[in-house]
Symmetry: D2
Subunit: 332 residues, 4 copies
């Protein structure tokens, strides 16, 4: 029996969301399922705003950043009446399966909806932050690292030319995945992460100790510090000023900002998005529901939606120990 | 008779400075001239800090951002004693020709030095700002446009996904070349430039008028404003806040910052740097001195150094009229 | 009085054709002209296959390679009956102005059509080859250089690692613009171009002389030769084999091929396409017809269509002399 | 007690080899080990050609393609006398640990050497082919996928513009990892891989069946086939000709070639190279020898060198099943 599948993207946009939509549409086409896309995240569900999708509509989509279905954060959707309306809308269109691509906020919305809708609900992890428990990686994460690293490579050209200190703020709301990997891959000298943050004093002292040693050994040198956003109590500009005083050199802040969200997805994000999207369609019609499909050790996994946000996902140990052996050195 | 050529890079670094050094070194090698590079701009000249250069030292240099000779701004060099010391150092090394790659500050330094040194002085325009009179383009300018455009392309992905307004600050200290071209090439909707700036009120009104029309015609849409740095009296964050109130949508500021200076030079900058560097060497030993070599209409030109800063270089008319016919539309 | 404008793209696709279509559509929208796009080059004109275009249809188009209107080479169109049918189709749709983006083959088609159609005909130069007389640059040319240079940069990594000789074939049917600039910007060691080609013997001898000198001075080194396509009588593989014997090292051929046509246009192509497109619309309704709009010395120029192909466009002198002073060195 | 570590790169160069050298040098510096790099793979070992390495020598190395230590394939090294001489050289320099970055050929060389040298031997997997058993990924593999995908994205622009069929040959000597992932990430329509190759007839039939269905459903469309090199018996040009006849459309071959080896490593390769390099140094001085350090499921693993080549590494199942559900469709 044929099925009707709906898909939406919600929360911050992430490169690879389009590649995931494409995979879902093509896999559905092959299985003879019909597909529609709700626009603007849960808003589209509330206002029955959607478009039909087929192979033509996703041609040349794999390489595009952002999301063709638009996204939104939808405060409104937290209410009971709203979720009921959404459920009615899904019933009216006879949707069998709703696939939600997004982060933990989106998955909370999905669980809320499931109280009022009996259909099949599947989540796919789409966020540049990688802060979703139960999957090794999330769609958009690899591209965001690449974008940050490409930017820091450029900053290093000036840092080297002037033998100057730069302080680069990268995204990563509550988690240091992006900051840690961007710092390590761009050969930064120090990284300040939520998971490893002790105190302002300790941080400043460690930086000064390492920098002093470096200058003694190699003379004036460039030095790049990567800082996760929203971590330094008074902000990146305050830290730059403090370091300017301490180091007696002008420390320049660089805020990468929203540039990190966009761009054509790198291959790894296209591939992850494609694998997860095609796998989700293979579950359509089964009694599996209320789960996120993630990837662990190269295999698909099914994670109950609440497990994706209940525990904090730890940084990868191998990467942390590598960082400790090459950066952030303290010399006791 | 063989010659001794010295080269230095000064002021803000610009992509293509290395390509220019390479061309100078290779052209000298071919002409059997010896070459040395002073380190850290005029500082190297003051402290006789230099390195010998040959074909090997510039292998694989063409594609690297920054400058292998380091750069610096050198306040100290404005004094008479310092310039005399530099002249003595040049005499001591028996330098025949000094080639200075930099912007107007560097050329002022060259003129200052020429009061005390009788050797041949040649300037080459190296700055991402393109604000040097007497040359159509400067080394680094095309790469900086490309970097800004690539970043704004990424911002547009999020702007489109959320149908949101973004305000992007690009470099361009006193001139709008970078801002104008980056805005036009990234399909931005509005651009605020020093050359065309009337008042805060006029700007806000024009934006609101255009945005209102756009929304009426196309519904909620993404909208990108490009702002030249240091132009808005209270800064980019203040403008973002004002626009947030006026548009009743969250307007996000993005500051591209020092990322714009670095990166592997694009072909046009490699080519310009190579043409100018090779041409400079062809003048070594002639009685031409105290000039900058620029490029106008695809041909090399010689411009007396003071002419490079005495008049303000105007924006290109064809580009301005194109901008006016596609962006910044006011509807009287 | 309002006007009706039609646009088509013809011949080999070139990055920036989309940016040009966008500029035409937006400028028309502003002038209250209606616009339609014929599909598949002159084929669309023959079969009345077109689509209406407006601001929405060109959103986010500026950065896309290829052409949304598709392209084709259209042998059929050389006939009289076909041109008459096309003229009838244009009259039926009440088209006032037809803008053709393409190369010399496309402009010949335009002249042929003009015998049968009384409307306004404007050409815009779109080809990666830059072989159109009357304009300094063509849409797509800068991107093609960039693509070739980026590829040769990668080849150099292996060439350096193995101190090996590589022979890279770049596009450029009958003209060496692409080859010359790609070679110079990628720090290639030798370039073989139609405009400067004397004989096979002379070329092989010059390469061997330069290579022998290089090896004597610097030991085993990497060495990169750039070859324009269709130039070496028996092809790139034959040349590689001959060089392998002569140099007693394995010489690897690399054929860049169709990769050079595609890709997101670089800023310079987006800007050129935008300037020319907007300017073309400013001429709509005037009595200027049968011309190509090009750009010389940064200003728009109007060139009678036959002049664009009647003389061979020479290589830029400044670039050729730079090449001669840094590459292809012969040591008499 | 301090240690002396030597490192060499051997076999085909791979992006990230430099990042790996850097990590080894920095980790050694931190542990107070001295480090030297043998040049030109095993040749340097035979001829005692090496250079001392420290933090300065690897500055700004992480982002560079190729290998600063050069590479080579070294037939000569298969002899007993040669291996003995290499062992003597290692003893003469008092090397405690030799780290070899390369592929299976390099590891065979390491095992051969171990018969004559009692020191510690560690291998690290560096090859774009990913065909090394015992590690999930190899250094250079992710960059090679990215390079291939970026190229195919460009080919698609022309394929779409002309609704034409392209046949793209990617590297992958004996394994389809690169081809499979590049095809899937570039939205290719069909992929021909060694692991899944049945016969020429079956392949041609499957392509024709899929293409006919596509044309029936969507009209003339672009169609991209990815082919692993050295797989089609008479070569890529022969296949293009056969397909041209069968499809009655011109099928254009594109050979990506050596471009795929070079380029700045993507973040994932920089990170893998850095993790493996730092981990290798943590084993210096232990009694672990004769092993390759790979990475499985995000953790370091130690694999006896012969195990790396004795079994054929299978393609990843999840990726194969994804490919089967979206591409290469046969319709029974």
């Amino acid at each position: 029996m044929t099925k009707k599948v709906a898909v939406l993207t919600s929360g911050g946009d992430a490169p690879g969301m389009n590649a995931c939509i494409r995979a879902i549409v093509l896999a559905c086409e092959r299985a003879d399922y019909s597909v529609l896309g709700y626009m603007h995240g849960f808003n589209g569900l509330l206002h029955q705003e959607y478009r039909l999708l087929d192979g033509r509509s996703v041609h040349n989509l794999i390489q595009q950043g952002g999301t063709m279905l638009r996204s939104a954060r939808c405060k409104e959707f937290e209410g009971r009446e709203e979720a009921k309306r959404a459920a009615d809308n899904l019933r009216q269109l006879e949707v069998d399966t709703l696939i939600i691509i997004g982060g933990d906020g989106s998955f909370r919305g999905a669980v809320h909806l499931s109280q009022f809708w009996e259909g099949q609900l599947l989540g796919l992890p789409g966020t540049i932050d990688n802060d979703i428990q139960g999957t090794d990686v999330t769609i958009g994460y690899h591209t965001a690292i690449e974008t940050a690293v490409t930017s820091i490579d450029k900053v290093r050209d000036t840092a080297d030319s002037f033998e100057r200190i730069f302080l680069v703020e990268v995204m990563g709301r509550r988690a240091g995945f992006l900051g840690l990997n961007a710092a390590l891959a761009s050969a930064a000298d120090y990284v300040i992460l939520p998971e490893l943050f002790e105190s302002e004093e300790q941080t400043l002292e460690a930086i000064m100790q390492q920098l002093t040693k470096r200058r003694r050994e190699r003379g004036d040198v460039s030095y790049i510090i990567v800082l996760a956003e929203n971590l330094w109590p008074k902000g990146v500009n305050d830290l730059a000023e403090q370091l300017t005083k301490l180091t007696e050199s002008e420390v320049k802040p660089v805020i990468l900002g929203h540039v990190q969200r966009g761009g054509s997805p790198v291959s790894q994000d296209r591939l992850l998005a494609t694998r997860l999207g095609a796998y989700a369609v293979s579950l359509v019609g089964s009694d599996i529901s209320g789960i996120m499909i993630g990837e662990c050790h190269g295999k698909p996994v099914k994670v109950p939606l609440p497990s994706t946000w209940q525990k904090r996902k730890p940084l990868d140990e191998f990467t942390v120990s590598t960082m400790e052996s090459l950066m952030n050195n303290r010399y006791a």
